[in-house]
């Protein structure tokens, strides 16, 4: 169980790494950023998730139940912060797509260039993140939280 959680955790981290990279390289963390993500929220999510992963690696080796619970509580906090980010991301995406959908597919790019207030949402750093990455990150994250809880409850072997 602990090893399974470690594997899904690392996969989740991989997608997170990709998304964080996309967001930072598009200037999401800059002071003059075109982003609706507050940097402390993004970096808090990243830092707590990375710290939790380190705790989990120690747990896998020494099997101390306390560490499993520390990791679980940490993950719940990480998940809440992640939810805040994904809610904001979804809302911006929906409103941007809503305005873009007013044109035909062929002139969608042109309508974005006119930069109506809503279409500007597509220019946000975080909107460069593909939906697939967000969904897969979420699916593996939920799986990880469940596996970590099961390991902490000592359900099944480790």
């Amino acid at each position: 169980m602990a090893i399974a959680a470690l594997v899904t955790w690392i996969i989740t981290a991989g997608f997170g790494f990709f998304m964080l990279g996309t967001w930072i390289s598009r200037g999401g963390a800059r002071a003059d950023a075109s982003s609706h993500f507050p940097p402390p929220v993004v970096f808090g999510h990243f830092l707590l998730a990375a710290a939790g992963l380190i705790v989990w690696i120690v747990y896998v080796i020494n099997d101390a139940t306390t560490l499993a619970w520390v990791a679980f509580v940490d993950l719940v906090v990480v998940a809440v912060i992640g939810d805040v980010l994904v809610l904001r991301w979804t809302r911006d995406r929906r409103s941007a797509n809503g305005s873009a959908a007013t044109g035909t597919t062929s002139d969608r790019r042109a309508s974005t260039d006119t930069m109506t207030a809503r279409a500007r949402g597509l220019q946000l750093a975080e909107q460069r993140i593909p939906t697939a990455a967000v969904v897969l990150h979420g699916v593996f994250a939920v799986t990880t939280v469940v596996l970590v809880l099961l390991a902490a409850l000592e359900v099944g072997g480790s």
Partner: protein, 185 residues
């Protein structure tokens, strides 16, 4: 070009990656490097002492500390990596540096697990694996050095560096320090 290289000088997050001109990654990497090198010293020393068990245990602990601190250093390193514009020479060096370091961390993690099963404190296998890891670490470290000293990643721009080479008198003519130097002369 100036704009492009300047971006890599800035921290993604001053709090996590260190303020402008004071990156945290080079500070953090000293821990895994020190731990892993010391573990190899312990491994070698274990062959020359009467009670090698203590040194073998110490070596295993140092490898574990190295793996965990390497992950912390990596987390901060990722933030600096994301600031390097893609498609540049510096970006390619950074990718090699990152992949090599992550591989080395996996090697030491396997080294640690191997030592949990190995009975003899003077086994040569884990020692050779550590030696291999440290050799690779030297290569990877030199790439990290290239990123900082050759390409100036996370190093302040030249105008800011020049501050350090102005004489105190010339740079701060109105300051109490400046006038003190003046009087002393």
């Amino acid at each position: 070009m100036g704009e492009t290289s300047n971006r890599a000088k800035e921290p993604a997050s001053a709090l996590l990656a260190g303020p402008y001109g004071h990156p945290f990654h080079p500070i953090l990497v000293t821990v895994p490097i020190g731990a892993w090198v010391s573990s190899l010293v312990f491994d070698v020393a274990a062959h020359f002492v009467r009670e090698p068990t203590a040194l073998a245990t110490g070596a295993r602990w140092l490898i574990g500390i190295g793996v965990l601190s390497a992950l912390a250093a990596a987390a901060v390193g990722f933030l600096d990596f994301f600031m390097i514009p893609a498609g540049t020479r510096a970006h390619r060096v950074a990718i090699t540096h990152m992949v090599l370091n992550l591989s080395i961390t996996v090697v030491f993690a396997l080294d640690f697990l191997w030592r949990l099963t190995t009975v003899s404190p003077t086994s040569v296998g884990p020692l050779l694996l550590s030696a291999l890891g440290i050799a690779a670490l030297g290569v990877s470290g030199s790439l990290g050095g290239k990123l900082a000293y050759r390409y100036g990643v996370r190093v302040v721009d030249e105008a800011a560096q020049a501050d350090g080479f102005l004489t105190i008198h010339a740079s701060r003519p109105d300051s109490p320090v400046g006038s003190f130097v003046d009087e002393g002369d």
